[in-house]
Amino acid sequence: MHRSRAIRNIRLGIKNLMLHKLRSMLTVLGVVFGVGSVIAMLAVGEGASREALEQIRKLGSNNIILSALKPVEDEQTSGRTAFMSMYGLLYEDEQRIRQTMPAVVRAVPVKHVRKEGRLGERALELRVMGTTADWFAVVNRPVLAGRKLTQSDLDGQAAVCVLTEYGTRRLLATEHTIGQSLRIGGDYYEVIGIVQSEQSSGSIQTPDQEVDAYIPLNVAQARYGDISMRRSAGSQEMEMVELHMILVQVRSSDEVEPTADAIQSMLKRFHKKEDYRISVPLALLRQAEATKRTFNIVLGSIAGISLLVGGIGIMNIMLASVTERTREIGIRRAIGAKQRQIIGQFLIETIVLSTVGGLIGIAIGMMIPWLVTRLAGMPTIVPAYGIVLSLCISVGVGIVFGLYPAVRAAKMDPIVALRHE
């Protein structure tokens, strides 16, 4: 019976609001925009941190990625003449990092070279990655078949390679290919394993690529050396790079940033030019959080102001409505309605009003993130708790701003109210 009373009250509230459709709609706009901003704010924030978390997942939150970077001045002076540019990370860098920094658990040196891989009729341009067994500990991808590189492969300078799933597919290989030889450039390697490939999507640059083939670092050093030749439109260019990448894994995420700073100052000391880049996945999260915070401040203020103005608007209209319906209040009181029943009636009306505003706001609020994604390319996610929160906010606005008019209605002297014209 109580539920049917509540439904009757709500129906009566809707009926009264429908008597003034335009007025009710205009009244509710503030709440609509307020709730819309809340939803948009949460969606953008959630999207940003979800993306950052995704990046972290792919790059590893405890990792620091150092990569070789060709300095800008070298790029310019290379011109048409043959020129040898020397840059990048050094074998010594890797040793220094491993030996002098206690927080570093692993440092994985990588030397890569682009070579064509050939298996029977099929060919694929591979990024041949000379590295150590630790690579697979830092870039942890599932092994689909066979095995990873091991220390004994390095010790024995074994001519073995691990392919990615993508490479395997492109070369029309299967797990039966394991044990067979793959020709890379002019050399032969025994395929020992297949790992899952991680395709880098959007702005996320993972250390591994789909076209990787992993071989022991010392084999790469012995077969390809440190000097590579690049031929491009009319010019011939020699490059000398010892290491293209060093992956550093740190004990805990607290130590990531101090370690990155330490590496930075160490590299600065030993490198004349800025021929390296340090990227810290954890910093991406910080950046995402900063973005989120900025968005939250801007949209939060909009939301707050809209809700305040919307609430005041609702209060204003309800006060007018109470005055208009003074006589109705008098009649209800004369018949025997208690003060709290009058409060309930008007409060339900404001709550219905603000909740309808909230629902419209949620609908609009879900379109804004969609537009942001569409136009600005920012990822957005409307979180379920955001919808619940918005509904609570709208009901709250209804209660807070409806209470005063409702109490005022209830406190009227029934005799005076009955005489009201």
Binding site: M1, R5, R333, G336, K338, P414
Partner: protein
């Protein structure tokens, strides 16, 4: 005052429904005090039909507000159907109005956005009746006042007489111990007014206690007792034999 004596001739078996003892009502108007009622005593038995008459300012509206539990006496005692209502809280007065009193006003006072049926149901709604049962009772009452076919209409779609019938039906919904009417025919033409008065007379014949305020002698003529007020006091009481 002389009031209790006036009823002494009535059969003693009839119980006293309304008892006023030396009731005063004083309003504070700025610094001045206005004595709206200056010591009224009155006793109305169950089944009585009373008309309160008097010039404007004589205190008859104040009387009706007090009898209707819309207001409390400044001094004195008011007992309605064995409830002492002189000192009740606002909620207590609401409860008494809800259970014991039915109001009929001069200007009908129906709620315009509700249908006839919903208006009649209003007291039942506040009493917490289930929707189906209260709809059934509203239907019966509408039929009783001759508006069985108008349940779904809005008050504005009805004539004045019809609206007043709806108001009477509403005032009966809670089966009140007393029906209070404030100039119920004041907004109606004389023929329609007469029909409403016939309705009251019929209700009284069926045992309903009625108190109405009027300044028209021919309306007061329907009542068994006519109470004349002057300057906040009972001037005299005429009773039919």
């Amino acid at each position: 005052m002389a009031a209790p004596a006036a009823d002494a001739s009535r059969p003693a078996a009839q119980e006293e429904l309304i008892v006023l003892q030396d009731v005063h009502k004083i309003y504070q108007m700025g610094t001045a005090q206005v004595k709206a009622l200056a010591g009224v005593s009155l006793s109305v038995r169950r089944g009585g039909f009373w008309a309160i008459m008097g010039p404007s300012g004589s205190g008859k509206s104040t009387m009706l507000n007090l009898l209707g539990c819309l207001d409390r006496p400044t001094r004195g005692r008011y007992v309605l159907n064995r409830h002492d209502v002189s000192t009740l809280s606002d909620d207590g007065l609401s409860e008494i109005r809800l259970r014991e009193i039915g109001f009929v006003f001069q200007s009908f006072n129906l709620i315009p956005q509700l249908t006839v049926q919903e208006n009649i149901e209003l007291p039942l709604y506040y009493q917490g009746w289930a929707a189906a049962r209260s709809a059934e009772r509203a239907e019966e009452l509408a039929a009783m006042v001759g508006l069985g076919d108008r349940s779904g209409h809005r008050p504005t779609e009805l004539s004045g007489g019809e609206q007043q019938r709806v108001a009477v039906a509403r005032s009966l919904a809670n089966d009140p111990s007393v029906l209070l009417a404030d100039e119920p025919t004041g907004n109606l033409d004389s023929a329609t007014g007469q029909q409403i008065m016939e309705l009251f007379a019929e209700l009284n014949r069926r045992g309903k206690t009625i108190v109405l305020v009027t300044h028209e002698p021919h309306i007061a003529g329907y009542a068994g007792h006519r109470l004349h007020m002057r300057d906040g006091r009972v001037d005299r009481i005429e009773a039919e034999a």
